[in-house]
């Protein structure tokens, strides 16, 4: 996989773009389809960023309304998802900037960690592998939540939104090198955090 390849700017009509064209010509069901397609990823990204379900719901709603009202500005040379994630990213970053103290004060991971650690040792005796894996996974994702915002946002864009490095760079307006380095750094932090609890040993 070439990560530094230049982005092809030719207009290719993918599924999304066909749907957008239909929406612009007044077909409402196409917008529903777009919503259904992106709802999960957008909601989960926002939820992990703001860490409050009510706010995440509101922001996701705002996002879709914004997308719809701004759709006439969408440039078909770009991938729709990148354009949409960029709007989503800006919306969330704006929100966090305006409500910084609120978002930061929602740190509830320590209690979760203890709780999980106890369950973890209980599972070890049972030797339930699949369950264990799920537990490690959910623990890892909890740890992602507690990363500093500048790392967390990139990790979420990469793994929740499933973007490539160059797409993340477009969404966040950060240089691609910075994006890669921060994600590596974030994964280093994650690995060390999880290693502490010996969760990656098995």
């Amino acid at each position: 996989m070439k990560t530094f390849s230049s982005i092809n700017r030719k207009i290719i009509l993918d599924d999304d773009k066909i749907l957008i064209k239909e929406i612009l010509s007044g077909k409402e069901s196409s917008f529903e389809e777009i919503m259904r397609k992106y709802n999960k990823k957008i909601f989960n990204f926002v939820l992990r960023m703001v860490r409050n379900e009510e706010i995440a719901i509101e922001l996701t709603q705002d996002f879709f309304i914004k997308i719809f009202t701004k759709l006439y500005k969408y440039n078909f040379e770009y991938k729709f998802s990148t354009w949409a994630y960029r709007i989503c990213y800006n919306l969330v970053v704006d929100y966090i900037r305006k409500n910084k103290t609120y978002v930061d004060s929602l740190d509830d991971d320590t209690t979760y960690k203890k709780d999980l650690y106890m369950r973890e040792s209980a599972i070890k005796e049972d030797g339930a592998d699949v369950l264990e894996r799920e537990e490690v996974k959910s623990y890892l994702w909890k740890t992602v939540n507690s990363l500093p915002v500048k790392y967390k946002e990139l990790v979420l864009l990469r793994y929740i939104q499933e973007l490539k490095y160059d797409e993340i760079s477009e969404v966040t307006s950060l240089p691609i090198g910075t994006v890669k380095n921060r994600i590596f750094k974030a994964k280093d932090l994650l690995r060390k955090e999880i290693e502490k609890d010996g969760m990656l040993e098995k």
Partner: protein, 185 residues
């Protein structure tokens, strides 16, 4: 050979290295247990990250957005309010316009309703009674208008002007209420 940097191992996991670089790393991983352990950890982590724990978004998100953007169906209460208020305004307009307060038919209805029970006559009597009082208010307002501005435009015309103003105000308010209703659903 010295140990690999974390970044290099991660790039190897990512497959973002060129062939020469990856083969160097591969060779090192074979001989160095320490780096291989790290590589395994990154690899495991990558697997866990690639399949994230998604939370199902609540259905109300879609509902809210679609309602906000495409809702064309007004609520029953707003339709009812529209019809009844339009009816009241129409009746008042007709009443004032034809000067029913001094109309002989209405007077006749008023008289007959006293002797024989008939729901139509009682309704008409009720309406005419209400509007007679409204008409009286118009008369007073018209007199007031006459005193202040020194112009007499007649109670009837005065009443019509006031009613027209009310009608347009009513439709404006209705529009605003309707928009608000749409936002809330």
């Amino acid at each position: 050979m010295e140990c690999l940097k974390n970044k290099k191992i991660q790039e190897y996991v990512d497959r973002s290295l060129n062939r020469v670089e990856s083969s160097i790393i591969r060779d090192h991983l074979i001989v160095c247990g320490k780096c291989r352990a790290k590589y395994d950890q990154y690899k495991k982590m990558e697997k866990l990250l690639i399949n994230p724990v998604y939370k199902e978004p609540p259905a109300k998100i879609e509902k809210f957005v679609l309602n906000r953007l495409f809702s064309k169906i007004p609520t029953y209460s707003s339709i009812f309010a529209l019809i009844s208020l339009s009816f009241i305004l129409l009746v008042s307009w007709i009443y004032v316009y034809f000067d029913f307060d001094n109309n002989s038919i209405i007077q006749a209805f008023k008289l007959t309703s006293n002797s024989a029970f008939n729901w139509i006559t009682s309704i008409i009597t009720f309406i005419s009674n209400v509007f007679s009082s409204v008409y009286a208010i118009f008369k007073v307002l018209n007199k007031l208008f006459m005193i202040i501005f020194n112009v007499n435009i007649g109670t009837q015309l005065f009443g019509l002007i006031i009613l027209s103003i009310f009608t347009s105000a009513f439709y404006f308010v209705l529009r605003i209420v309707y928009k608000k209703l749409k936002e809330h659903n």
